[in-house]
Symmetry: C2
Subunit: 471 residues, 2 copies
């Protein structure tokens, strides 16, 4: 919420414009249709049925797994059954990483078994595992600031705790320990790194997630302890005695293979070449069943497409729902999509990905040129009865959308309440029971109103400023 005054000004504009039809971007009929879709969505069960199907009939959808392959067939079938008039896939080349076992236990001073999981793309330990003294750092910065050789021959333990926040802001602060901890630890001589899970829960379910190596730094195994296990480790350190851990991890890479973005379209009635993109990612981590991350996003946006497909007349523009591939291991689907479609950028009107669970959407933000803001305010007014505030114009669009945003595509975000998202994120606990069916319908209601109005909207949105860095 960077521009509160602007938001208030826009709110007033919408209010005034009700008395002055010439100011309106959308006709009364269009607004009425959006409102009807919104209200009907609250009584629809389609998204939940899709999510129930995906988590029951497929379950975990780890890139490169048999289940991921089955999920692609599932998505094609669902798009077709739901009435999308064009269903196809586009290739995405990805590495295949194979997770083997991950076991750890404290050997001394007080032996206890630990619950641990390998971080995504981590190497394994040498055969038979390692046993070494642990060196404890409260934060990644403390590790970076340690003297050279500080961790020689040791296992680094970083215990930073992620903070809970509605907008998930604790994640960005805590996650560098996961992403770059192995590189920083290896620079100090460490032979492995274990971190406190990047998550806000206190259950015995460690959080996986991607980590990265650097070309010129030794690749060491990287894993996450569940938060109660990290507590035990910290408390053992408080005793002031050396802590020794046995760690055994078996991971490997098995070349590259080709997976697919799965795409369903409702073809536009007037300017079908103009595309409104919504979607989620179809792949998930292997530990859970990918309900909140991101079966929910796929199900919400598929359900939106179905509702619009069921209208007597298709909206002007084409609605393209994308079930992105291989998001978890580094936005491979989103990046491939951008490369394959950058030449058609002018026709990609706006994009919005749902990838933050399915709790109540509380905020709507955009990233468009100033001249499009009045239209966005009219959309925001339709979302407002759902309890959604219009909060500014600096949206990111979602992970798989970010490569397109980086080259100039306008984007929007419908922000889910993320208060409990990181209790579950990347854990075995990401299962259907964590999704509240009622809040899920509110998500569909918001997305369907937004999507319909953007597909009905006339006049292109100018591209936004391209950025070098991608989300």
């Amino acid at each position: 919420m960077k521009h509160p005054l602007l938001a208030i000004a826009l709110g007033s504009l919408v209010f005034l414009s009700a008395c002055d039809k010439a100011e309106q971007t959308f006709t009364q009929d269009e607004i009425k249709t959006a409102e009807t879709l919104r209200d009907n969505a609250l009584n629809e069960n389609v998204a939940y049925e899709l999510l129930e199907s995906l988590t029951t009939e497929i379950g975990p959808r780890m890139v490169g797994s048999e289940n991921e392959k089955r999920s692609i067939a599932w998505a094609i079938d669902k798009f077709e059954t739901l009435g999308f008039d064009k269903v196809y896939t586009e290739p995405v080349t990805v590495p295949r990483w194979l997770r083997g076992k991950a076991e750890a236990s404290i050997i001394s001073p007080y032996p206890q078994p630990m619950h641990i999981t390998s971080l995504g793309h981590s190497v394994g330990t040498p055969d038979g595992g390692i046993e070494a003294e642990v060196i404890h750092f409260a934060t990644l910065d403390d590790l970076k600031n340690a003297p050279e050789g500080a961790a020689d021959g040791k296992i680094v333990f970083i215990s930073n705790r992620m903070e809970r926040a509605q907008n998930g802001s604790g994640y960005g602060k805590a996650v560098p320990a996961r992403s770059t901890g192995a590189v920083e630890a290896a620079k100090k001589g460490a032979i492995a790194i274990i971190i406190r899970s990047i998550g806000t829960d206190n259950h015995r379910v460690p959080h996986t997630g991607m980590m990265r190596y650097a070309d010129d730094v030794t690749r060491i195994p990287a894993a996450a302890l569940s938060n109660p296990d990290a507590d035990v480790m910290e408390r053992q350190f408080e005793r002031g005695k050396p802590v020794t851990v046995a760690l055994n991890m078996e991971n490997s890479f098995d070349g590259e293979f080709i997976t697919q973005n799965v795409i369903g379209e409702i073809t536009g009635s007037e300017t079908p070449e103009e595309i409104v993109i919504i979607g989620g990612h179809l792949d998930s981590w292997d530990l859970g069943t990918g309900a909140i991350d991101d079966g929910a996003g796929v199900s919400i946006t598929m359900a939106v497409g179905k509702m619009i497909a069921d209208l007597p007349n298709a909206p002007r523009r084409t609605i393209r729902v994308i079930a992105f591939a291989a998001e978890e291991i580094g936005l491979f689907g989103g990046k491939a999509y951008m490369e394959q479609h950058r030449d058609n950028l002018d026709n990609l009107i706006i994009g919005a990905e749902s990838d933050f669970g399915a709790d109540r959407i509380y905020a709507f933000a955009t990233n468009v040129r100033e001249q499009a803001l009045p239209a966005m305010a009219e959309i925001a007014a339709v979302l407002k009865p759902l309890g959604i505030e219009h909060t500014g114009n600096e949206a990111g669009g979602g992970p798989d959308i970010s490569p397109l945003r980086a080259i100039g595509m306008p984007v929007a975000n419908l922000y889910q309440d993320g208060t409990r998202y990181f209790d579950l994120h990347h854990t075995a606990d990401d299962t259907l029971d964590k999704v509240d069916p009622e809040q899920l319908t509110q998500n569909v209601a918001a997305y369907v109103a937004f999507t319909y109005l953007m597909a009905q909207h006339q006049g292109k949105l100018s591209k936004i400023e391209a950025t070098e860095s991608q989300e």
Copy 2:
């Protein structure tokens, strides 16, 4: 709460007796000391420190494990350090069951890995595991009512859900599926049984717990699915297709060995031969760290002993704090204790075990002869400011106390709020973070007032009626 009118009548008696000193069992000084102990306990940290120590320095304390052995040394050391004037152990002979791996996955119609744990004392599967069709029963009764041979060559799945309740009443209703499911399933021809966990949570942490075989019925492997996994299994059954599961469990027995009840005493100043028993059980399941079950009970009652040991004068009777052995696998410590002390029954005045976590105590109940009820009401009046209601005279005393109660020892219960107890019970999630330090102090406050007054109380309590069956 079987006698509400009686409870009201007793309340009035206490009120009246304030004006009529002759009616009082306890002197004003004794009540004052109990109240001071109670209030001081709310500002004491000893129980939490003990529990922190036990869960950090020992952790899981499965009968027969190295950690269990260490926990006995821990308890002896703590009793001595806390100022108990007599510390000793008594032998308990138990079987040693060794848990091996337990793996399961749905093979068809929709392959998914499952989170599962062997039930206590279950046999393993044949080497390499089994793969078989699953037959689903909603309840144990449905299984019992199935025709002979109904489960021939199949794996039985019982999906009954435990209900949440403050007093834990859902447990008794749900747990027979765990205790006797294997026998009933084998009678119908099953080759294994898997049950929905007996627990109220929705996390990927299956609940273990004891099961029993019958001498004349084939012993089949028995395991529990985590509740989200049981949900998936049920939803796959709803598709109406055959469900096949692969199950691999490796468990074994390794003879018998001798473990120890660990006992600390505050010797009575006037009638040291008369004993007030409090305690908890020191062993735990191996999956968690035994914080709520039952590190809490051991810590609460040890802290009570310390507070009373710190008084300028010991109370009249001896206070005996027992850290029972091998409760989880079938009350071995409690049964051995009863056998070893039944000849001294007349001197065992009353017993109360804390074994239901450490959330707020909300009710006080006794099981004493009628003539002792006025004294119990005076104790209840001291507990009342802690928010504890006096709820009757049909207490069980706690699992390890139940063998003594069954031969006639009077007992009491200080009932903890069990609303969330079965979210954690017998799972990997039974860890220190689940204990609220503030509620823990309320537990100590209640136990110290009760224990002090019972140790100060004059005149024996008559034995209650002996029962054949034990809890």
